[in-house]
């Protein structure tokens, strides 16, 4: 059996392959250390960068989304604490960027907001208005102002998420087609917001572990 791990800041994505059968699962990263899992390849912030097993996250993203990259999609991964994208041209690497310095407009902030205001992600709907989240901290201030004036938290958080989607679109340099990797694929409000700006294909949370496997088999 082969095991591939994407150990993110909050969530760890695991792919196990046995007899050509793939099994995926997600566990909280805080539980990862207690499991003492053995693995073939890994990526993510929360595991040591051993040169024999560790793969750079952008490389894992590119390998996992290769099919879409070769079809001129931008592959964008929006995680708990960072955002990164890769672009190919003529089936070859062209551009990338990775912002791991500010986590105030990424997944962890949304999870905290949902918990703080006791809102279910399924209740969030696309809102045509958006907050500017060039700085996520200023965006949070606007949520608080709106809620203080009587607006429902669901609506305020939706505007914030629309701002994050617009930010992600700008970060990726305004492409016409984006394939999304990461937990935001399960956030319909985010996907619908991003669709206002470009074509979007959500690829799910396991793109990086698929990329680890693809690279391992090369």
């Amino acid at each position: 059996m082969k095991t591939y791990i994407d150990a993110g800041t909050t969530w760890t994505k695991i792919l196990k392959v046995e007899n050509n059968e793939k099994t995926y699962c997600v566990i909280p990263t805080k539980d990862l250390k207690t499991l003492n899992l053995k693995y073939n390849k890994c990526t993510g912030h929360s595991l040591p960068k051993d040169k024999n097993t560790y793969e750079n996250e952008v490389v894992a993203l590119a390998n996992g989304a290769k099919k879409y990259l070769e079809d001129d999609f931008i592959a964008l991964d929006l995680g708990s604490r960072d955002i990164k994208y890769v672009q190919y041209q003529n089936k070859k690497f062209k551009d990338m960027d990775w912002n791991a310095s500010c986590a105030s407009a990424t997944g962890a902030t949304i999870e905290m907001l949902l918990k703080f205001y006791n809102v279910d992600v399924k209740d969030l709907k696309f809102n045509p208005q958006k907050y500017s989240v060039t700085c996520g901290i200023f965006g949070l201030e606007k949520i608080m102002d709106d809620i203080a004036q009587g607006i429902n938290p669901e609506i305020a958080i939706s505007k914030f998420i629309h701002g994050i989607a617009f930010n992600a679109y700008n970060f990726a340099k305004n492409p016409s087609k984006i394939c999304i990797s990461g937990g935001f694929c399960e956030n319909n409000c985010f996907i619908d917001s991003l669709k206002q700006y470009c074509d979007v294909i959500p690829l799910g949370r396991f793109v990086l572990v698929d990329g680890l496997m693809a690279n391992d088999l090369m």
Partner: protein, 253 residues
């Protein structure tokens, strides 16, 4: 310019410099002070930050100020490039340091290479680790050793730019990384030559590096876009994000 004599400098033993002072000036000070120690003020010697310049300012200029003040009692003179071979910030700092009592000898080294086909770049094109290449090229400003014995290798990557404040970032690159930009111009002996500084091999995946808050960021960004390279600017020490970007670029290109 007030020139100090050897006897005035009984306790002073350092000729300090930044960038690449004119060759004639280096020769003159080597003859005048044969026993002096040469110190490149661009380098981060980890002296305490005196906050002499604003926080959002080029780290190399911060190094110059911190080093200069820390070594002030031992510095005979500072050979101070202020032309297109260095930058405007260096001009301002040279004037400010003059007002602070340093013996500043300004230098403008904007000579153009008369025949680009004849420049020799044994270090830039060698198989030495990239960090070593950059260290040797900058040391050779005053050491002036012959490295023509180094063997040229086929490059797989290019590194364009200036010596980073934290040279360890260069350990991410393979040995057969060719050097471009200002560092290449220094090895060629023409630090202010625009043609040499802006030349890159368009077939070579190249990282275009500058220090944050440096005016060369515009040139690095322009060239990175033109040659589909990776633009990167770093302030003091590289963030994990900057290191990861370089690693990914080297693997994916």
């Amino acid at each position: 310019m007030q020139e100090l004599s050897q006897t005035d400098n009984i306790n002073k033993n350092i000729i300090a410099f930044w960038g690449y002072p004119q060759k004639a000036l280096i020769k003159e000070y080597k003859l005048k002070y044969p026993n002096a120690k040469w110190v490149d003020l661009d380098i981060d010697f980890k002296y305490p930050d005196l906050k002499f310049v604003p926080d959002a300012y080029c780290t190399i200029i911060k190094n110059i100020c911190n080093n200069a003040f820390h070594l002030k009692d031992k510095i005979i003179a500072i050979l101070a490039p202020i032309g297109k071979d260095k930058c405007d910030s260096a001009y301002f700092i040279s004037e400010i340091l003059k007002k602070e009592g340093f013996n500043i000898v300004q230098s403008v080294f904007e000579d153009k290479c008369p025949d680009l086909s004849k420049i020799e770049l044994p270090i830039s094109k060698s198989n030495l680790p990239l960090k070593e290449k950059v260290e040797i090229i900058t040391k050779n400003i005053y050491e002036q050793k012959d490295y023509s014995h180094l063997q040229e290798v086929k490059p797989s990557f290019g590194f364009w730019g200036v010596p980073p404040n934290d040279l360890d970032i260069l350990n991410l690159f393979p040995n057969n990384t060719e050097v471009f930009g200002w560092i290449r111009a220094v090895e060629a002996g023409y630090p202010g030559d625009w043609e040499i500084e802006t030349y890159v091999d368009e077939n070579l995946p190249t990282v275009f590096f500058t220090q944050a808050f440096c005016s060369k960021t515009a040139l690095a960004k322009y060239l990175a876009n033109k040659y589909q390279g990776l633009y990167i600017d770093i302030d003091t020490i590289p963030t994990n994000s900057a290191k990861a970007k370089i690693e990914a670029f080297l693997k994916l290109r």
